[in-house]
């Protein structure tokens, strides 16, 4: 489909660019504020190929497109000269608040998110195989091992290809060109050249051999550069040939650019790091241990860890042992500890299962699922694991632990550490693991779920009901909510909270009257008849239940402060939605609703006061509420 033509038609049929006040889009809809809705030819728009339907709601003229909405919006915005486009994505505002590092970490974990499950599966397969070999059940020469190993390792070996796909989607560049670029980096001929340490030239520019298999950063940087070049090429080539010429020139430019600049940049940083760490080890082994224990996984993320391999190999061939490898195992195990901490603490089923399985894989030396799925994603556990790794690493380094042969760092490498300093590795490993777990459990992430503190039921004094806040955060007036339906109080009066926690608690004692299948809204009828609606986020119905977990059932009796819903605040705002929580009294006409004057809502703090306007405050709906 030609989205440009569609955009042009829509623009004409809504009355041209002069009729557009503002326009933006959400996940599936173009949303217009039109100066005059009567100028829009709704029927004509609905009949356009690519338009699902038109919805007129809340003063907005919404054209439902589906997933391709951004592709229609971009040319439309260009044609209509929309300069200050309000994007429904609050990303912009939140991103400017975040520092560059946080955004970078956010980007990295978001490109891993789509394939976390598959990555964990492949990681477990690899771990099991390593275990079977260690137990002597399989030999590395057997066909079964080789086939399963290829299945498990293929994912990690060709990680740049998978990353190209998700990063391209995130950065809105041609996914297949990005994948083609990634396949270039891991192309067998080029991999063989790197392995033989030959140097090749690109015309007269030397290409420094760099390992790209299993790497993360080079391809992400490459796709990022590509996202800057692709639009330029699109502008140069006329539409009729763009389809072929943009990819062609992207590959012509990007492949050498990546191989000559991006990859070697990482490699030379790595070389400095590895020689630096070795130098430090010579005069202060414990310090080198602490540094390596703390930063090894950071090196892994940036793909500069490969430069340590020759250093270690060299140590083993020259000295007969390497002092760095045991420290790496400590670093790896600290991540496993942090993942265990997350597993123990998280109430989110998805995170719990991922964290649980990634403990096992990390112990066996596969840390990708742990880092990208769990610790780095939550940020703080990663830092805590690094602290634990530093302390454990200092012990192993200070104890002058040695590895007698080169084995990838994990618990399975323990036999190679036998000999002098072995006890210090063991202590270092235990300290790193336990500390990683405990620190993460204690400080890992803001508390999720379930502390059932006993709270006195709200008082019904002279027909007065007190409601506590459903979530902690900043209190804002309902009229400031960026959704007309709530802001206009059409649903009833209430209050909004910008949450800083991920658990919704019941503001009243009562009965759950409405559980929406998508989990983003919940209704409660208080024991005194107030109809309380809690709506989590704006337009979050579109998430279709993703990131929400309802903890109660329809008709269930709940007490004040009981946990009702868990939601993944970070993921929801990353998906582009406003996470403001609205607390609405849907039978407002029965009450005088008074909002607290506080601006912050702490745990279980009172937020609304309802005073009955009439004696009879029975719910206004008829019929029994039944479980659906």
């Amino acid at each position: 489909m030609d989205y440009k033509v569609l955009a042009e038609n829509i623009l004409n049929d809504v009355g041209g660019k002069d009729n557009i006040d503002t326009a933006w889009h959400c996940a599936t809809r173009l949303r217009f504020k039109l100066k005059n809705e009567k100028l829009a030819d709704t029927q004509k728009i609905e009949n356009l190929d690519g338009v699902v339907t038109v919805v007129k709601s809340a003063g907005q003229y919404q054209v439902v497109i589906g997933n391709a909405v951004a592709k229609v919006f971009d040319p439309l915005a260009e044609m209509a000269d929309l300069e200050n486009v309000d994007s429904q994505n609050d990303d912009k505002t939140t991103e400017t608040k975040d520092n560059v590092l946080n955004r970078f970490i956010g980007f990295i974990s978001s490109v891993f998110t789509p394939f976390l499950g598959a990555m964990a599966g492949a990681g477990i397969l690899k771990g099991l195989l390593a275990l079977f070999v260690a137990l002597g059940w399989l030999t590395t020469k057997s066909g079964a091992y080789q086939i399963w190993y290829a299945a498990g390792d293929g994912f990690f070996y060709f990680l740049p290809i998978l990353l190209a796909f998700t990063a391209a989607k995130k950065l809105k560049v041609n996914q297949f060109v990005a994948v083609a670029l990634a396949t270039t980096l891991v192309y067998p001929t080029l991999v063989a050249i790197t392995a033989s340490s030959q140097t090749i030239n690109f015309f007269n520019i030397p290409v420094i051999p760099t390992t790209y298999t299993s790497s993360v950063i080079p391809i992400l940087l490459a796709v990022w550069v590509m996202s800057a070049i692709e639009p330029l090429l699109d502008k140069i080539f006329p539409e009729s040939i763009r389809n072929i010429f943009t990819p062609l020139f992207l590959l012509i430019i990007m492949a050498p650019l990546t191989l000559i600049v991006v990859g070697p940049l990482g490699a030379s940083i790595g070389a400095i790091l590895s020689s630096g760490v070795s130098a430090i080890y010579n005069f202060a082994p414990a310090l080198a241990g602490a540094l390596l224990g703390a930063f090894w996984e950071v090196f892994v993320i940036f793909g500069v860890h490969w430069t340590f391999v020759p250093v270690m190999m060299n140590n083993i061939s020259r000295l007969g042992y390497d002092p760095l490898l045991p420290i790496l195992s400590v670093a790896v195990i600290s991540q496993a500890g942090a993942a265990l901490g997350v597993f123990l603490k998280s109430k989110d089923t998805k995170m719990k299962s991922l964290a649980g399985s990634s403990v096992a894989t990390a112990l066996l030396g596969i840390t990708e699922p742990t880092i990208y799925g769990v610790t780095l994603k939550l940020k703080r556990p990663f830092i805590l694991a690094s602290i634990a790794g530093a302390i454990g690493g200092a012990i192993a380094g200070g104890g002058q632990a040695h590895a007698s042969s080169f084995t990838l760092p994990s618990l399975l490498a323990l036999p190679t550490y036998l000999g002098s300093g072995f006890i210090s590795v063991i202590i270092g490993l235990v300290v790193a693991f336990v500390l990683g777990t405990v620190l993460t459990y204690l400080f890992g992430f803001s508390k999720v779920g379930n502390d059932h503190t006993t709270i006195v039921a709200p008082v019904q004094k002279d027909g007065v009901q007190q409601l506590i806040t459903p979530v902690t955060g900043t209190i804002i007036p309902l009229k400031n909510v960026k959704d007309e339906v709530f802001a206009s109080e059409a649903m009833g009066q209430g209050v909004a909270i910008v949450p800083n926690d991920n658990t919704i608690k019941s503001p009243v004692a009562g009965t759950i009257s409405a559980v929406y299948p998508t989990g983003h809204a919940i209704g409660i009828i208080s024991q005194y008849g107030a109809e309380v609606l809690i709506h989590i986020g704006i337009d979050t119905v579109e998430l279709n239940g993703q990131f929400f977990k309802t903890l109660v059932q329809q008709n269930q009796k709940v007490s004040v402060g009981e946990s009702l819903v868990e939601f993944d605040r970070e993921a929801i705002s990353e998906a582009g939605f406003d996470t403001t929580v609205m607390l609405i009294i849907t039978n407002t006409p029965n009450y005088n609703v008074v909002v607290t004057e506080n601006t912050l809502a702490g745990t279980d703090e009172q937020i609304l006061t309802l005073t009955s306007r009439q004696e009879d405050s029975t719910p206004v709906y008829k019929g029994e509420v039944q479980h659906v």
């Binding site: 609606l533 329809q554 719910p619 206004v620 709906y621 008829k622 019929g623 659906v628």
Partner: protein, 89 residues
């Protein structure tokens, strides 16, 4: 004579907060009793919480009944609300 009409919900998010509010607003303008039936349960269409308690999703078939002095215009207003919201056919 009670008015009754069946609707097939097409909106991908079903009758959620926003559409529920608009339906309730439409129904509340009239004195007639307005009932929404879904899977054998009846609720008052003038109550947001009542409507939302049904959890009506996409693809659901619901019946709306109006009964009272202005039942015909009430039904017309509801049909209009359903259509302008793209809720049902």
């Amino acid at each position: 004579m009670t008015q009754s009409k069946d609707f097939h919900i097409v909106a991908e998010t079903g009758i959620h907060a926003r559409p529920a509010t608009l339906l309730v607003q439409a129904a509340s303008k009239f004195t007639s009793d307005v009932t929404l039936s879904y899977q054998g349960k009846d609720v008052n269409l003038k109550s947001i919480m009542g409507v939302m308690s049904l959890g009506v999703g996409q693809g659901a078939d619901v019946t709306i009944k109006t009964d009272g002095d202005d039942e015909e215009s009430a039904m017309a207003a509801i049909v209009e609300a359903m259509e302008t919201e793209g809720l049902a056919e």
